[in-house]
């Protein structure tokens, strides 16, 4: 029995398809404008960060345009929402690449979204800049069409190991939550400690949903560590700290700043948290770029991601200028390292960099997030880290370096 379309149903189908045809192609920008795409999480679990990341990019674009654009051409931002979901991110990226024909997509946040979008970018020769931290991203066969400004596990692990050694630790134990970063971090910290004559004496991975970690703690303490690295999230690290106190552990403790935060210090008695060190990647808060951006966004305490996207669009604009105005993903790929690192004059803003480039000088851009120097697979070589210590239930800043 065949289905017959009723007249009304036919009308509805017809109207729908007409509406598809009527979607206006985007109003063409003034001839010669350089179109760049932003793909940040405006909704979903990254929705806390995306709007500010976008604002940072819009501010830079506004500054560049007010100063006359890139070699006289205005920047035009096309902004899409990745919904913190790879499936939605892929559709949004297709629109940016195929319809808007952007030279670069900037600001992807979740690692899964970045990994999903990256193949579309390198296949269609569109440049991708990201703040995702997963180690595997830069190992993709991206042919250079990708850079990221977020330090990966390697860099973070190295910083932790160096700091622990600097505190005089010889025997380090790790208590880590079951997460993608647990084993890679353990490996890199162990290697780095050995380089400095210290030792990783015990490493235990635990399930985050347990209500007590006494047996795991006993297991680690049996190796008599003088420093414990608590590589978990806030809820489980809270319990670990309590159990460590009860177990009478008096050695040093160190954790990620996102795990041991002010909320945790407020929730626990000061004697439980006393002396705990925290480390977090930090924006370059002393830099002129950071100060200008903080003022523009009206926020003294910028999140690292907004600082990084500020640098993304600056790098892209400068790379296009260095390529004599060739606004393609390939040109950005070939020129981004020529303006981000090297012996050129140190600049901290895109506008200033464009001016120098116009005078025929070479530049080395350092941004609000850090030096923005990349290795051959697109990882940053170095970034600033913020070192703090809990003291009577408050954080004391040790250094930013």
């Amino acid at each position: 029995m065949a289905q017959r379309l009723s007249r009304r149903a036919f009308l509805e189908v017809g109207v729908t398809s007409l509406a598809v045809a009527a979607v206006p192609t985007r109003v063409r920008a003034q001839a010669g404008a350089i179109r760049l795409g932003t793909l940040t999480p405006l909704t979903g679990s990254g929705g806390n960060y995306g709007p500010s990341m976008l604002k940072a990019m819009q501010w830079v674009a506004g500054e560049i345009n007010a100063a006359g654009g890139v070699l006289g051409r205005k920047l035009e931002l096309v902004s899409e929402d990745d919904q913190t979901n790879p499936e939605a991110g892929v559709r949004a990226a297709r629109k940016l690449i195929d319809l808007d024909k952007v030279a670069a997509i900037m600001g992807t946040w979740a690692s899964a979204v970045t990994t999903a979008v990256a193949p579309l970018c390198w296949e269609s020769k569109t440049f991708l800049t990201t703040v995702s931290g997963s180690d595997t991203i830069t190992l993709l066969p991206h042919q250079g069409y990708l850079v990221r400004t977020q330090p990966n596990t390697q860099l973070q692990g190295r910083k932790f190991a160096e700091f622990m050694v600097a505190q005089g630790s010889k025997r380090v134990g790790i208590l880590a939550v079951q997460a993608p970063f647990a084993l890679p971090t353990q490996k890199i910290v162990g290697e780095e400690l050995r380089k400095h004559g210290a030792e990783l004496v015990a490493a235990v991975v635990y399930d985050k949903d347990k209500t007590t970690f006494r047996s795991e703690i006993d297991q680690v303490l049996r190796a008599r560590p003088d420093m414990l690295y608590l590589n978990g999230y806030t809820p489980d690290v809270t319990i670990v700290l309590k159990d460590l106190y009860k177990a009478g552990y008096t050695g040093a403790k160190i954790a990620q700043a996102y795990a041991v935060n002010q909320k945790l210090l407020n929730a626990l008695p000061p004697e439980v948290t006393e002396g705990t060190f925290t480390i977090a990647p930090s924006p370059a808060i002393e830099s002129a770029a950071y100060k200008r951006l903080a003022q523009a966004l009206g926020n003294d305490d910028l999140d690292p991601y907004s600082c990084q996207t500020h640098d993304h669009i600056s790098l892209v604009a400068l790379a296009i200028a260095h390529a004599k105005g060739e606004s393609t993903g390939t040109a950005i790929r070939d020129h981004v390292r020529k303006i981000s690192q090297g012996s050129g004059a140190h600049v901290e803003s895109a506008v200033e960099g464009l001016k120098r480039l116009a005078q025929g000088k070479e530049i080395n851009f350092d941004g609000a997030s850090g030096p923005c120097d990349f290795n051959e697979i697109g990882d940053i070589l170095d970034t600033k880290f913020r070192y703090e210590q809990a003291e009577k239930g408050k954080f004391k800043l040790l250094k930013i370096a």
């Binding site: 029995m1 289905q3 379309l5 149903a9 509805e12 189908v13 729908t16 509406a19 598809v20 979607v23 206006p24 192609t25 985007r26 109003v27 932003t38 405006l42 909704t43 995306g50 709007p51 976008l54 902004s79 899409e80 929402d81 919904q83 979901n85 790879p86 499936e87 939605a88 892929v90 559709r91 949004a92 297709r94 629109k95 690449i97 195929d98 319809l99 979740a110 690692s111 899964a112 979204v113 990994t115 999903a116 990256a118 193949p119 579309l120 296949e123 269609s124 997963s134 595997t136 993709l140 066969p141 079951q178 993608p180």
Partner: protein
């Protein structure tokens, strides 16, 4: 522009497959499956692992995806034989979460939350991305046509009539001498196989899968697609899927129409518009755009 439309047509086709798969079990047999994204994911992983790690041809991957998910669907129907309505909905929802958690934690098999990248696609890399897009659209269109024909055949056959009888009152069907459980298991297996095929096709198209892809959001979109198109009606399933993709994409251009809006507001407005449009559809046509019409014999 053309490339973008082609890509969206591919996604619409994949959603159509999902809606058709859901229709078999929900629309025709009356068993709710809120875990369809679990089967979608299972199919995607089955094919990706086989074609990537074991270098099997893609066709074999697709077949394996359908087989694995059919087996999973049959197992699920057997274990939930006595459950219906809300209870079945909760179990199936739980199943999809289990699939996601296993994919996140069994690193040796699934590479965990990092996902699997570099899944091969037909002629990917050997032709331009544009050509690949068009080729893939043809493949997906073919799959939709084949599945659609199969579903229509089921629907109009005496077999489909038994499924509808079970949907409307399974005790009556049992009294009439039909072995209800067998039909339920078969319907669940066929439905799951279609969902798994859609998942495999998704993986080979985008070349990357991760546990994050297979979130309940996709289930919601597909349930909405089928409800808006017309539960029980295969044409409605395809139409509803196209409508959902159209709404999701058309709302992007709200900036052009409304002006003055910031991207953050547009993002929020988009979700509101999609929900609102579907509400209107269901208010004006409670049984979907193309309600199921039964043959009188």
């Amino acid at each position: 522009m053309e490339n973008y439309l082609v890509a969206m047509a591919v996604f619409a086709g994949l959603y159509a497959l999902l809606a058709l798969g859901l229709n078999v079990v929900w629309g025709m047999t009356g068993m709710i499956n809120l875990g369809l994204v679990g089967f979608f994911g299972l199919g995607a992983y089955a094919s990706a692992l086989l074609t990537r790690a074991h270098r099997a041809p893609i066709v074999l991957g697709l077949a394996a995806a359908a087989l694995v998910t059919a087996a999973a669907g049959a197992a699920m129907a057997l274990t939930t034989a006595r459950l219906r309505g809300d209870y079945l909905a909760i179990i199936t929802l739980g199943f999809s979460e289990v699939v996601r958690l296993v994919a996140s934690n069994e690193l040796w098999l699934t590479n965990g939350t990092d996902g699997i990248s570099g899944i091969p696609g037909p002629w990917r890399g050997r032709v331009t991305p544009q050509t690949f897009n068009v080729v893939y659209l043809a493949i997906v269109a073919l799959a939709v046509l084949a599945v659609f024909a199969l579903c229509q055949r089921i629907r109009s056959s005496p077999y489909g009539r038994v499924l509808r009888a079970i949907r409307d009152d399974d005790q009556v069907a049992a009294v009439a001498g039909k072995r209800v459980i067998v039909f339920k298991v078969q319907a669940f297996a066929v439905s799951a196989a279609i969902l798994g095929l859609a998942g495999a096709l998704w993986g080979h198209y985008t070349s990357f899968i991760a546990p994050d892809v297979f979130t309940p959001l996709v289930t919601i979109y597909v349930v909405l697609a089928l409800t808006a198109g017309g539960t029980g009606n295969n044409v409605g399933a395809v139409l509803g899927a196209a409508l959902v993709i159209f709404l999701m994409e058309a709302t992007r251009f709200a900036t052009g129409w409304v002006g003055m809006l910031k991207p953050v507001q547009v993002a929020a407005l988009r979700e509101a518009l999609i929900g609102g449009a579907l509400l209107v559809v269901l208010r004006v046509r409670p049984r979907g755009l193309l309600p199921e019409r039964l043959a009188r014999s």
